[in-house]
Homo-oligomer: 193 residues x 2
Amino acid sequence: VSRWQPDARERLERAAIELFTEKGFAATTVPEITARAGLTTRTFFRHFADKREVLFGGEAISGLADRFLADVPADADPVTLIITGLTTAAETRFEGRRAELRQRWAIVRSDDSLRERELRKWDAVREATRHALLSRGATATTAALLADTSVSVFQVSLEQWLDQDGERPLAELITGTFQSLRTALTTSGPERG
Amino acid sequence: VSRWQPDARERLERAAIELFTEKGFAATTVPEITARAGLTTRTFFRHFADKREVLFGGEAISGLADRFLADVPADADPVTLIITGLTTAAETRFEGRRAELRQRWAIVRSDDSLRERELRKWDAVREATRHALLSRGATATTAALLADTSVSVFQVSLEQWLDQDGERPLAELITGTFQSLRTALTTSGPERG
C-alpha cells in the first residue's frame, strides 16, 4: 500500500458500509474498517472524526452549497439557482452510487444516533443553502423558504430514486418533484380553490 | 395546594422557563422547578419524562396534526388542509404566549442537546402532517412535499412573529408567508423564466 492514497476516503466509506451492513453499525470497529480497506487507522482519523462520520462524508457541509452553485450566472433568479444546485449535487455526488447509498440509508435508519445525525446533516444543508441564497440577493424570507423547499424536493426525489427499479436519473426526478410541488401549491388552496 | 391541579403542566412549564432563563438550563434541577411551581416532583414526572421535556410540551406530536385538522371538511383540498391546520395550531397553541415562547427559543438555542431535540420535534411534526395528508387522500409525493412545506412556512412565520415588535397575529403571518412561497416558486425558474 503506497503512502499516497488519493481514493482513501472512498475506500474507507465503502469498507464501512459493507461492514455496517454485514455486522451492524454498533458491532463494527474502526480497525475492522481500516483492515477491510487496506489502510491504517491513522489514515482513517485523517479523514473522519469517528466511525459514525464515515456515513456523513467527513466534510463541511457549509462549503458544498456554494460549490454546487459556482457555475450559476450571477443574475440567475432564486428558483433557477436552487434547481441548478440540486441537479449539480445529484449528478456529481449521487448518480452512479445508488446501490451503496441504498445500503447507507438502511444503516442510518437502523440506529437512533445515526438518525439524529442525519437530521443535523439536513439542517446544515438547509442552513448552507439559505446563506448561499442570501449572498446572491434573496430576501430573508425567500432564502429561508427556498432553502427548506430545496431540501424537501431533494429528499423526496432521493427516496424515489433509491426505491425505483428503473433508471430515471436523480436530476430528472428532482425537476419532476419540483414541478409537482408547484402544481400542488398553485392548483388548490383557499385563495385559488 | 390541592391535590387536583388542572393547570399543573402550564405552571411547571412557566416555572421551568423562568429558571432556565435565570440560571441556565444545565444548572436547573427538577426539585427547583417543582418548588417554584408549588408542586411535587411526583406531579412533575406524571407530566414530563425529564427536565428537557418540559420545553417540548410533554405530549405526543403524532396526535396533534389530526386534532388541528379535526374541523376541516373531508373534501378540502390539501393546501386548504395545511393552511387550516397551521392557523389552528397558531391560534390555539401560540397566540398570547409570545413572551414565554421567546424565552423558550433563547433557551433551546443555548444548548446543543436542546437544539437536537428541537430538530427531532419538527421532524415528528413533519411526519404527523404527512400521515394526516395521506389519510385524507393525498398522494405519497404530495403528502411529503406539503408536510415539509407546512413546517417550513410555520417555522419562518414563527420566527417573524417572535422577532416583531408589532402585533400581527401569527395566523396572519402564516397566510402571508405561504403566499410568499407560492410567489417565489411561480414567478421565477427555468420553466417560467
